[in-house]
Amino acid sequence: MTNPAHQGLFERVANIFSLVDHIGDTLSDAEVEGLLRVLPPESANSISALMAPHLREASLVFLRTLSTWMREARAMKAAGGKIIMVPFNFPPELVTAFDNAAPLTVEVLSTLGVVALEGQGERYWDLAMGLGLPDHACSSNTIELGSMLSGEDFRADGLISAGPGGCDANAKIHEFVSQYMDIPQFVLDKPVDRSPEAVALYRRYYRRMVRQLEEFIGEELTEEKLRRVNERANRCTELYYELWEMHKVRPCPIPNLFSLFVYATRFSMWGTDTGVACMEKLVAAARARIQAGAYPAPREKARCLWAYTSIYYDFLGLFNWMEDRGITHLADALDLFMPQPVDTTDRDTMLDGMADRAWDMPMTRQMGGPSMSAAWIEDVLWAVRELDAEAVIYCGHHACKQTWSVVSILRQELMKQAGIPLLILQTDAWNKSMTPIGVVQRQIAEFVDQVVAPQRGGETTRRRRRRPADSSPASST
């Protein structure tokens, strides 16, 4: 029998996630305790974060969503269909629309490896480094692709790259895998500006990719197939905004991890019934918490927006730790994909709409803009104002050189235009071995206590007094 530790990342993660299918809609505390005892420390950390009582039911639905996603990909492969790897900044519903292809999202798989596996993703990162790849490559894609490059994992049939212009590290590693393993690559370039000509050009680029995929998969993407995914994607979009609106409530009743649940769903099962069900569950859970006036800490100390990614190697140490201290994680930039309904009138309107959605995917939209800093600042400021954030945190993932190159401008403009302070961390968001979570926590705590809280001053008290009388003050569940 193969040593499970020597299997590829996908196999290991999919096997672990398949356990979720055998769990009901909820778990008792005793069952969670039992589960935690048998899991390796890294998985136990993640499960204990996800099984916190106030988000347990939503987490179970979310985990099942991902389990379904991976199960369907396995079934597709087994049935002779094609697995198309997509980057997080490409809407996977285009691939889902095919009967004979399934999308797997590189960064989602890397993250699941980090969250669920013993040893997190380090083994696969090291395998990639063993090929000579530079250590400043991005762990978010190199972990999963390292697993594939090592030959231990499944072999994708095709790769979509939507990274050119948004992230060199992302775009180049896709090309590397394509050339190294001789896997066909489908490139979606993006014109820099958003002039009408550029939008029209992008739509043509998108259609070119659709034609290439149709030919490669050997299947026509009919109007009916497109409508199937777009109607569901539109429903997801409605639910996204319902949840977005609820994030505006003070104190924010929505658990910190929901931010990640939303975009993980966007990057995997958007446009499917399972994706809709997941979003519905998130909305229902949030609504129930609003009605209960719930907030996980005695008081909301700081409402924070994360300027780019969050940190994924320690859920408990980041999302839940913040929550316990009254530090709300409202959203990060991966939530800023600004979904809009796709006009499902006919094939053309749908393809145009899907291309526009691709344009608005996170990173593409901000870093692929005519000015990286301007587009990024605009979105972050918009979200700050929408969600009434008081502080912004930049996780400082070392491989995000494009954001690193303009984060000083973001910091100055946030302060100048909105009086909002920016905390700049330095981490590898997918690898605990660069910056210990304790160091991250100390920096966040100092930032909140020394910079955010004094600025907030009496304002909080005033706002909190204005809360409706029927919503009880903070609850700890």
Binding site: D126, G130, G132, S433, T435, P436
Partner: protein, 263 residues
């Protein structure tokens, strides 16, 4: 016929004197500010052990970071990179060796050799303390043990403490943290050596390593790092018959002997 190899690194200098290819004498010392002074001094020490004079040396090769200046000063006829010298030194000691892992005080290198002892590939870390002897020195300070004590201490560990960081500064913090929490010293030492071995392993993976493997350099004297690496690679290291710290100088001397013989 006598030949010599002089290896002046950033921390230590070594000299080896051979007679007809046999090891006659060797010396090791801490470096002086000027690499030429180091070379002159360390070679002098080795020569006096060998009861020989500089004029007796037919051919000398310098290596290490001061190698060019040593040739300019006339102490050696030629300079050869430390990578080649380490590889050739290991090959002369055990021709079946295909991979040499050399962990020095300031750098680490992994060298892959052809059956003839020629360089096939190499990687080197000389930028980051993690995975070098310097890392162990830092950790010894935190543990309050000597470098010689660290390895034997770690060997007693049944449950090495997990070091989750790569950066030496953060590992040092982890070490202190473990000690404060009352984790036994042996387990902390075990964790340190395992972490060291993991960093070296990452480097080893960058060359397509093959058996047999020889561990050289100062860190080869640490039995725990050696044991961890053997476990991780699934091989037994080829024993080193001479002081593992002088392999570079030894390789230089063997090359000098070859050149001198041909000259």
């Amino acid at each position: 016929m006598m030949s010599a190899g002089i290896d002046v690194g950033s921390l230590t200098a070594e000299a080896v004197v051979l007679r007809n290819g046999d090891l006659l004498a060797h010396a090791t010392m801490s470096v002086l500010p000027n690499p030429v002074d180091s070379a002159r001094e360390v070679l002098g020490r080795a020569l006096s052990q060998a009861h020989a004079a500089p004029a007796d040396i037919r051919y000398a090769i310098s290596t290490g970071y001061g190698r060019e200046k040593i040739v300019e000063a006339g102490l050696a006829q030629e300079n050869v990179s430390e990578i080649s010298c380490h590889g050739y030194g290991a090959h002369c000691l055990a021709p079946s060796v295909r991979t040499v892992i050399d962990i020095g005080g300031q750098d680490a290198k992994v060298i892959r050799l052809t059956p003839e002892g020629e360089l096939q590939d190499f990687v080197m870390n000389d930028k980051c303390a993690a995975g070098t002897g310097h890392f162990l020195e830092l950790m010894c300070r935190a543990l309050d043990v000597t470098l010689d004590e660290l390895g034997p201490l770690a060997l007693q560990s049944r449950q090495p403490a997990e070091m989750s960081n790569r950066c030496s500064i953060y590992v040092e913090t982890e070490v202190i943290h473990y000690l404060q929490r009352g984790v036994p010293k042996v387990d902390v030492a075990g964790g340190i050596n395992r972490s060291m071995a993991e960093r070296v392993l990452a480097l080893v993976r960058r060359v397509k390593w093959e058996s047999e493997v020889m561990l050289t350099g100062g860190v080869a004297k640490n039995p725990a790092v050696k044991a961890e690496l053997e476990k991780m690679l699934g091989v037994r290291m080829r024993p080193v018959k001479i002081d593992p710290q002088i392999i570079g100088a030894y390789g230089a001397a063997r090359l000098a002997q070859r050149k001198g013989g041909a000259a």
